[in-house]
């Protein structure tokens, strides 16, 4: 009791506590759990590259990167919303509407910058509608309002494109951004990297980022601490909307077209990416890396199953199974944390 070991954790915030093997072991399991998605991704890549030698060829890796660029960008926005205990179901329709707005803008102007701005603004506007309605409409959960905008945006996109399922043509700049390569690396990869770095900076080094985590951790306490919770929530949905707008630019660039049918089920892909990447669905925990790893995992699975000529339906089953594993890992993590807490309280529990 009296002689705590070097690694002995204090029992009560002040005194030394008795050494217990489980004390040091628990945080290790937690750390393993946190590294889980990266380990699984690594394992996946090793297995797939052994099964099919084409997988690691530069041109295929370039393919994967180009394929996941849209999911990754939109998932970064989704993860900001999930951090605040929210969810944005509208991102896919939001993206489709943004491409249609871009397609309409292209009829008026050839300027890449203007068409891009139109798509980005469209995304931001829908995000703002989500955020303001959720917060100032005093809705109990963002599920409802983003479900509504999911439907509204899709309908608007179909209406505005007046019967065209594709609106051909995009300005050269946008096509280059979404469709061209720099050696084997698609340009869209650099866009994703830029969005990711910007988001890391916002989340880590700005007061806004700290407030996001505080609101996700405990909204009531955040209010008590004087954090402008409403403004933080609105900003999260605007951020997600902006990411959907950037995703629209990438997708329109890659396909050289706008379409009201783009982005179907993208909301589910992005939510899946954030969760299987290792962020907590309960809010307050996660970072950009989780969204990126999740998107990469989805991309690798789809690509590998394609290369291996596996039935496309199996892809959906595989991703579904991984979601279950990821959510269980999240549950396991909070249980382990509770156990770590009990152990630290010293006393009877072991």
């Amino acid at each position: 009791m009296a002689n705590a070991g070097k690694t002995g954790l204090p029992a009560d915030g002040l005194g030394p506590m008795p050494q217990k093997a489980s004390v040091t072991r628990l945080p290790l399991t937690l750390r393993l759990l946190n590294a889980g998605p990266v380990l699984i991704l690594g394992l996946l890549i090793v297995i797939v590259s052994l099964l099919t030698p084409n997988f690691l060829k530069p041109i295929n890796i370039g393919n994967i990167l180009a394929q996941i660029a849209v999911i990754a960008t939109v998932a970064i926005g989704q993860h900001i919303v999930i951090l605040t205990r929210g969810i944005d179901l509208s991102v896919g329709s939001n993206l489709a509407l943004a491409t249609v707005i871009g397609g309409l803008a292209f009829r008026i102007t050839d300027s890449s910058a203007l068409v891009m701005a139109a798509m980005l603004l469209s995304g931001i506007l829908i995000g703002a509608v989500n955020g303001f309605t959720y917060v100032y409409g005093r809705l109990p959960h963002p599920f409802i309002i983003t479900l509504a905008t999911l439907s509204i945006c899709r309908g608007l996109a179909l209406q505005l494109s007046i019967g065209h399922t594709t609106m051909r043509g995009m300005p050269d700049g946008i096509s280059a951004l979404g469709g061209s390569n720099f050696f084997f690396v698609p340009n869209s990869f650099f866009v994703v990297a830029a969005v990711a770095l910007f988001t890391v900076f916002m989340a880590r080094h700005l007061v806004w980022g700290r407030w996001l985590y505080a609101v996700g951790g405990d909204p009531q306490a955040a209010r008590g601490m004087g954090i402008p919770v409403n403004a933080v929530l609105v900003s999260a949905y605007i951020f997600a909307g902006a990411c959907a707008g950037i995703g629209a630019i990438l997708l329109a660039g890659r396909t050289g077209a706008a379409s009201p049918l783009y982005g179907e089920l993208l909301e589910l892909d992005t939510i899946a990416a954030v969760i299987i990447g290792g962020a907590s669905f309960l809010g307050g925990r996660g970072h950009v890396g989780h969204a990126l790893i999740g998107a990469l995992m989805i991309g690798v699975i789809r690509n590998a199953l394609n290369l291996l000529n596996v039935n496309v339906f199996f892809q959906m089953i595989a991703i579904g199974l991984i979601i279950v594993v990821a959510v269980e890992a999240d549950v396991l993590r909070s249980r382990l944390e509770a156990k770590a807490r009990a152990v630290q309280a010293g006393g009877a529990q072991s």
Partner: protein, 253 residues
Amino acid sequence: MKTPPTAALEVRNAEKRFGAIHALKNVSIEAFPHEVLALLGDNGAGKSTLVKCISGIHALDEGEILIDGERAHITSPATARRAGIETVYQDLALFDNLTPAQNFFCGREISFPKWLLAGLRMLDHKAMDSQSAAVIDRLKVRLPSFESPVALMSGGQRQAIAVARATVFARKVVILDEPTAALGLRESRKVLDLILQLKAEGNAVILITHNMEHVIELADRAVVLRQGRKVGELKPSRRTQQKLVSLIVGATP
């Protein structure tokens, strides 16, 4: 115990009603630096209401609050904090997903540049880390890791962090609402030590507790409320313990 002439905190003739309920009836209290004041009373006596008025959650209907002898306008938790009043609530209000240092400064982050909108300022990680490390050090709080979220810490460690957070910003008054209610014996002991340390550093400490042992051990003075009224004020000791209890429950000894 000699008391300096000016009270760090003075509440004069406080009145508070919630509809038909008269929660505070002409209550006046003083808290002095270097002193632990116990605020006693049965459930519903008005302790929590009084504390919530002092810490800015409720506004007084009548009466005034003075800090260092000067009238303070406390309209929100933020203005109370700015006036130097820190409150540690029973339910802690710690953020499980943040580290101790992040918890300390949550909602009042050290940031720059000042001309930007608060949310868009850069966090000064270095300043916040070193200041919270200094406090943790000063209070002799030992934590398993400064980098891990407080979710991983025990009730006592979390309470220690909550008390330490109050001390980071406490300039004058620290209010603790049942700080040991959820703790075991050993963990309570450590929090009591922290309270003594707060007192030694010159704060006026206001302690709400139901534990008479703690009152006798720590408190320099005790104020007893009953049914919204102040019914007594005395120096707690073994000899006055019986009197204190009968004041609290309203029995005539």
